[in-house]
Subunit: 281 residues, 2 copies
Amino acid sequence: MKIIRKIEEQQKYSLDMKCRNKKISLIPTMGFLHEGHLSLIDTAKELSEKIVVSIFVNPTQFGKGEDFDKYPRDEKRDLSLLEKKEVDIAFIPTIEEMYPEEFQTSCQVRELTKKHCGKSRPGHFKGVTTVVLKLFNIIQPDIAVFGEKDYQQYIIIERMTEDLNLPINIIASPIVREKDGLAMSSRNKYLNHEQRKEATVLYESLIYASNLIKKGKYGAGFLRKEMTNLIKSKNNTRIDYIDFANTETLKDVQKIEEPTRILMAVWVGNTRLIDNMEVKP
Amino acid sequence: MKIIRKIEEQQKYSLDMKCRNKKISLIPTMGFLHEGHLSLIDTAKELSEKIVVSIFVNPTQFGKGEDFDKYPRDEKRDLSLLEKKEVDIAFIPTIEEMYPEEFQTSCQVRELTKKHCGKSRPGHFKGVTTVVLKLFNIIQPDIAVFGEKDYQQYIIIERMTEDLNLPINIIASPIVREKDGLAMSSRNKYLNHEQRKEATVLYESLIYASNLIKKGKYGAGFLRKEMTNLIKSKNNTRIDYIDFANTETLKDVQKIEEPTRILMAVWVGNTRLIDNMEVKP
């Protein structure tokens, strides 16, 4: 595995691979890798010959007062995990390399970024789309793999890619969960023992809703109320949102009459966790 | 010459040329071609093997009440001019092809778009950068050639290209003028006989200023006043702006002590004309 820290070197590598007709997959990450990230690599390996994993804790997608400074980082551990996975390139640019002083360009997706996480985290998705667009131009992948845990992000990136005519195939890879159902996330590290136990309530509430749907309870309002009650039964939880949206368009769903994503964000102590699940009538 | 109207077909062509190691130049235009455009083709031909000229009157860069509807169009004439110039591809997408119903992504350059034409035409440059980014992704040129008449546009595109890490070389090509000095523009067609005669005052005022500078008059305020007086001596003129800016950064210049662009926009009747010139102490 090669570690590349300079944009120009990465572009040279990618151009060389293109000329040799090798398909490249990109897996963009913020590091502190877990099984979820590693499963994205497995997905990518089935689709392409060369795997580039980027590690970049992107400052522009964190709001004021958010956890940019304390976001967990462990490059040494990350590199050893990527090495074991036989990744080809770890692309690890510095902030100065990505955002030189005169930097002033951004990319924005309009409607899709207004709801769900976009509502709670203004500017977040603008930071995400801008950095992902940069990474796409630097690595020039044929395929980019994103985790479904950040489902809204995946839909937004897909929209951006199509709108900007980028010749890149965007792939979503399923959520990887701990044994007790908690969706894997670098932020789980923030949870203390009690919070960690309570954090499973996100997944439990999704399962609970999907069981209610199986019993014919299709009203989004009813389902939200039932999920809310379950989540509120825990000491340290505070609901940010529970939304029901069309799986492809993210348009509001009032009744589960079409493939629907239940999207949710819940604070457990000072940690904001997200999860989601597809449900069908 | 081949005419391509579909994005997918253009991308296939470009990928094929890349694989054959042929360098592609893009000249983005809004059609109604004149000698200015044709000179961009000459510039491009010296730098690359394949020439793609796009013709697309981009609705998103026209403001409300601007001249999108009446902007001159003559595809047949354009095609015959391009044919004569031995251009390889005329890329002529429809509005629906470029902006399908669900389209919602934009690209924006922050500071550079706030002044000069950006101040008079809010949203204009956002439309420009978004469509140019799309054209870059569709045509995937090695080189893109822009006319210096739209000098602020050229600087903004250059900034965007660097900020987004696009592997494209942005080239500026000098202004082409009519015999009497009027910068060539598709919008010159709007001028009636009297206005056409008065329109030379933009160039005359630039020459006048550059002569004053040669005589040691370096104050931007003084020069603006002198240019204003000359322009106001014509019946049908109304000044939008006369600005003095660093040639590379477009930062305000108070005194001509560095390479400076004089940038100007002047209404002649109902037609807004722009021009610019580099001056040095």
